[in-house]
């Protein structure tokens, strides 16, 4: 493997300076680094902590994380962009995941996905999409491990199985009416 670069050597020319980061981001990054940077293979735990606290992994946090772990910014960016779970921009107020894997397909997941896109007003994208009022981000997921009770979805942290179109509407109804 290559030796780690100085953290600024791989920075893209137009990268945001760390000082441009909002205070909340800097605080979250510092807290995550204080708690987790000592772990072996600390990068994923740190990125999880950031996303859990902020809802996403801000670009502005990348230089700090890179510096602390003696990695290049490119390496940190590469990890964030490789994993589907991490996102670099804030999601909607709620996150709805619809399983599109084989087991759920056998129980109508494709129709459920199409219904979810139109019901929530989200674009039909393999990478997910947020609707116009930012109330919901709709994401595809490839298996929630509820395959004996397909089709399955998750609304924020809660999982739901045997989801008919009617049940879907019932489950997502509160999301678009309530604020935050």
């Amino acid at each position: 493997m290559s030796t780690p670069h100085a953290s600024d050597s791989a920075a893209p020319p137009d990268a945001a300076e760390p000082t441009a980061a909002p205070k909340a981001v800097l605080q979250a990054v510092q807290q995550a680094l204080d708690e987790l940077a000592h772990l072996p293979g600390a990068l994923l735990p740190i990125l999880h902590a950031l996303q859990d606290r902020l809802g996403y992994v801000p670009e502005a946090g990348v230089p700090l994380v890179a510096e602390a772990l003696n990695l290049s910014r490119a390496e940190v960016h590469g990890v964030i962009s490789y994993y589907h779970h991490f996102r670099s921009s804030p999601p909607g107020r709620h996150v709805v995941q619809v399983c599109r894997a084989e087991s759920c397909q056998s129980r109508g997941a494709e129709a459920l996905w199409a219904h979810a896109c139109s019901r929530l007003g989200c674009a039909d994208s393999d990478h997910g999409a947020t609707n116009a009022d930012a109330s919901v981000t709709l994401l595809p997921v490839y298996c929630l491990g509820l395959c004996a009770s397909s089709p399955a979805i998750a609304v924020d942290e809660r999982v739901h199985a045997r989801v008919s179109l009617q049940r879907f509407d019932h489950l997502v109804a509160p999301l678009q009416t309530q604020e935050a």
């Binding site: 994923l44 590469g78 491990g145 004996a148």
Partner: protein
Amino acid sequence: MSNKIRVFVPRDSAALAVGADEVAQALQAAAGDAIELVRNGSRGLFWLEPLVEVQTPAGRVAYGPVNPEDVPGLLAAGLLQGGEHALRQGVTEQIPYLALQERLTFRRMGVTDPLSLADYEAHEGWAGLRRALAMDSAGIVHELTHSGLRGRGGAAFPAGIKWKTVAHARAAQKYIVCNADEGDSGTYSDRMTMEGDPYVLIEGMTIAALAVGATQGYIYVRSEYPHAVATLNEALARAKAAGFIGDSVLGSGHAFHLHVRMGAGAYVCGEETALLESLEGRRGIVRAKPPLPALKGLFGQPTVINNVITFASAPIILARGAQFYRDYGVGRSHGTLPFQLAGNIRHGGLVEKAFGLTLRELVYGFGGGTASGRPIKAIQVGGPLGAYVPEDKWDVPLDYEAYAAFGGVVGHGGIVVHDDTANLARLARYAMDFCALESCGKCTPCRIGSTRGVEVIDRITAGGPQQPQQVKLLRDLCDTMLHGSLCAMGGMTPYPVLSALNHYPQDFGLAVPDVPVTQATQAA
């Protein structure tokens, strides 16, 4: 003990997903002080979830599927005494679906409170670890080898050989890593184990640590399983506080420190070397082998990396002896496999049986056919990288070698049923598309081949004079992926694709061959 009546409502994700928490709340509110509510794991009879059980003198009596609205009626019908009701399923252990199983690895599943150390201990918990502590490394490895246990993650490599390699490696630090990145659609036995019997995984990994001389362990769980992560973290804290893991395992002087790490939604991290890369904090890119992880694994050190069910099988092998486990199964497939009935199936659930039963027995005998009531068209066995098994193979005994002989894959035991509305060309296209989405990109056949595969399938289904040529192209492409990919992601995506093409040509807009497809033209 008080004389409260014990009532069980599962805390497994699949039960929560159909309202188990609401049922538990309704029961607690209505029955109040009369009951002791236990949140057990799931029995794995998922069409009956939420499955409420009541302890009676005759044994535990089951009711399901129970909705919160059913609770007042159930209580009025004498639920707490095991009274008659339309939802009453009888004594749980006598429900044929359960009674006909051979539950070894899953013998506590749904019976106990997953986090109760007392429950675990009362049901043969830690017996394997205690016996292992009285043995030397070679003795433990010998037990595991003699049991015939093979890797339950899908590759079916003999677990004893892997442990022996690590045991003989010389290094200051060795690791035990559990692959809990259960990404295959149609599989949930790892999730059930982590949520419903976490101590068996902890015990199995600790036995492995003693066998090879490792002091650090990691459980890599996919991010789609937050409940499993929470349960494991709590179980680890309790096991450590009670001295089962930590600085001195049961006071033996052997240290074993176990940690949970979360994946981040990359399917390919289920491949062991990609998982190790991810644990080290990098992109989950597959490593070339050799060197084997057993010699240069996590952080370059000798590492035992096994699936959840492989580790979870070790305690009973140590507790009851290798011969006990070995006597289950057929041929070179010893022991049991927790088959997972999924997809379009009436009675979906977990069926732990010795190797050697047939797909027909599973999907009709246990599963009761499709949920939709329509005829079964295709069954995908072994996850997204397994073949679609046509009806003429449904009577082949489920064992690793018998399946490999016709190009099938037993894999992790996932079984996804599709009825006659399924379009196999569409499913084949999905397999290539999924491979394109999830390929780590390291090797060309997988990275480029999957994208070309989607395009070629689209040209085949479009019809026209170019069709025969495109079919040949697809077969050539699959051949390249099969033999030229670095790991199973690209190397096995051709299994579902070619099995769909061979057995369901009409779905691709192709003429049905007059003679059955010969074995020579099938996948692998």
